[in-house]
Symmetry: C2
Subunit: 419 residues, 2 copies
């Protein structure tokens, strides 16, 4: 079989371990020169394919590819760009095929979340609908942990560890200050529609009275009276109250409480600011001195405190994607299958992309305590293994040494294309 080249791209919000997936995928592809030629990375995701802006990863030294394992964010650039429907935007698909054909691309690896799974599914259909032979494999990644048909999503375990560690640390801080100063601390975390990250904050509490005391999840409509009563009770009993709030918290009418009016390229509301909003509510209604933090990108880029479990899974899905491609698969996602909670055992599986694209996995009701403010033992059994283990990057001069790739462009063969 004559080897064909592969296209790999990163899509959507990046994570602490998406580059580990990239590195593992590239290394796995390099191990099969008889089947896979070069791996071309799309500069800035699928946009790199549309604009024929391809990066020749074969020009990257092996040590740089290996260093992707400990480098956060998207080494090739990511994008927020969703392909439109084939019926309405046929020119876009014709362009993709032109680019793929010009560079003899037979494998399409797309590393992303739910929206990206949709893009990957559309590409997977090019063989059938437009006669261009290609295999499209989705490689899961999202800090939101909201993909179906996989135990978890690479990227989530590390952000979960970061927020749990941060909450434990900040909780000790507030406890120290509470007698004469700050009594309420609010940490805003990511999670647009699903409360997985806020739930992970809950892992920081191991004993009675430990921070965090209240979790505000998107799955539970915000009940102001019940919340304020709980804050007051907590301050009276423990001297302080630590709260984790998901950016996607909704009011009883189902509206995003932090909605700013701005929307991103996917049409999603741009969020941010629910943390100070909740802190202000506590101040206005209960007059407790407060502090708030918004972790924002710090949480998803925090490779310095990545979960070893997450890292191992990120590497495994990268390798598995290549194996699925070599096995002739199309329109599938490499998935993680949980075999047991304790000890946590897992293996790689595969999921049908039709059942993945555009489906959001929220926290199941049995993971949320009856009062809506906490996580159950079942949630802990699910979440705890995902933050297990550390995997520190190398340091020089007190700072982690993250690789910057050369990212040499492949010579263009086609005329420009307007997005």
């Amino acid at each position: 079989m004559v080897p064909r080249n592969a296209f790999y791209a990163q899509s959507g919000g990046v994570t602490a371990v998406i580059n580990a997936t990239a590195g593992a995928l590239i290394e796995a592809a390099r191990a099969h020169p008889d089947r896979i030629g070069k791996v071309y990375a799309g500069r800035n995701g699928i946009i790199g394919a549309l604009t024929e802006d391809l990066i020749d990863t074969s020009l990257e030294p092996a040590e740089n590819i290996a260093a992707l394992r400990h480098t956060p964010a998207g080494a090739f650039g990511s994008c927020r760009y969703k392909l439109k429907g084939l019926e309405t935007h046929r020119a876009q698909y014709e362009r993709l095929i032109e680019v793929f054909r010009a560079h003899d691309i037979g494998y399409f690896f797309y590393n992303g979340g739910g929206d990206s799974a949709d893009t990957c599914l559309k590409i997977s259909q090019l063989s059938a609908t437009m006669g261009y032979p290609i295999q499209a494999i989705h490689v899961p990644k999202t800090v939101d942990n909201d993909l179906p048909l996989t135990d978890c999503c690479p990227g989530f375990g590390s952000v979960a560890k970061y927020v749990a560690v941060s909450m434990r640390e900040a909780g000790l801080d507030v406890a120290s200050m509470a007698e004469t100063s700050t009594k309420v601390f609010v940490l805003e975390v990511m999670g647009r529609h699903a409360g997985w990250i806020a739930a992970a904050c809950g892992l920081a509490a191991e004993g009675e009275g430990d921070a965090p005391h209240i979790l505000l999840l998107p799955e539970v409509p915000f009940d102001e009276a019940a919340f304020l009563a709980r804050v007051r009770d907590c301050v009276e009993r423990h001297g302080y109250c630590a709260i984790a709030v998901s950016e996607g918290l909704r009011n009883p009418q189902g509206e995003l409480m932090a909605e700013t009016g701005a929307r991103d390229a996917f049409g999603h509301a741009q969020l941010g600011g629910i943390g100070p909003m909740i802190a202000g509510l506590v101040k206005n209604k209960l007059d407790y001195k407060y502090h708030w933090a918004v972790a924002d990108y710090l949480q998803r880029a925090a490779r310095h405190i990545a979960s070893r479990t997450d890292l191992e899974q990120a590497v495994a899905v990268g390798r598995a994607a290549v194996e699925l491609a070599l096995a002739g698969k199309n329109a599938v996602m490499a998935s993680i299958v949980r075999l047991s909670d304790q000890p946590y055992r897992w293996e790689i599986g595969e999921a049908d992309l039709h059942q993945v694209a555009n489906v959001e996995k929220k926290m199941p009701p049995e993971f949320i305590t009856a009062d809506g403010f906490g996580i159950t033992a079942a949630a802990r059994a699910y979440l705890a293994p995902l933050i297990e283990g550390e995997d520190y990057p190398p340091y020089r001069n007190g700072l982690p040494q993250y690789v910057r790739l050369r990212n040499v462009a492949v010579a263009k063969k086609l005329p420009p294309f307007d997005l």
Copy 2:
């Protein structure tokens, strides 16, 4: 010489390494039973002395005291409480002497920043002014790094490392997203009057174009036009712009910008935070998509990424405080004396508390670039050694294992006292 007991307390905002100082001080005191009896810790700082709420650290197992080395925040509770003048509030000082006499306290160790140095100085004068023999030793601690007569302040190196690491990581994230999404990232850090922490963010940039691109320091009045021009230039040249802003940023009138009653785009009062304010300005004036983070307590509690240098200095000042006491000193602070930049060599010194109390050390002009938006080579030479080295805490179940002390109260001998 009959041994006398010691009083130790933590004051002001806590840090990632103040407990390391506490542990070292207690261990050093335990090594001199002929001179120092028990170490009583004040519960919630000096308030514990006033209310006779003392903790008997001799009842704490050695392994708990040792674990303070890797435990952030204030294990005995801290306070924001400044003693009033002796002339106007004599009753308070009489009460302190009553408590000290009741528990035979001959050594007073106060672990804090500038305000605490003032309290410590007042205590040091009790021998002369009120005839109660006591030695008061100040033990430096503050993330703000604004104490004079010491090379740096324990607590600062770790927050400096945290913000530099976080900025490096978030910078890679923004760079990945910039093509189709976020172009400007703002990280708000602590530092009400001095820009040391924001300056430390600058260590993350090692090469041309690296994040952060702009530092906004309290020492430099905010120049909106120059700032916006720099942001635009940065986005045009590098594709994105990463900004660190100090909470203490001031406008040209000298007012704290976070307290100027700014309103958001919808006319709502901004709920605090110069970070979101700067991000909003960029959005309104340049229409770049932005993200912002406010690290708040996360930065000063982040023992998981503490600086080893900072930790060693925190331990050293704790030990030195006991040695100063044993040498018969009073009204002094254990200080850090820099001997060389590279390699960084330092030793313990002592500073006269009269010259420490209520003096704030700001960034010197030669540490700030001419444009006001960056740090000079001199600043780097000063800052870089302070973040050198890692010292990871032990983990269990994916989380750092921080100690919670027993904090057994000493039996009270006196009637209550109203603060």
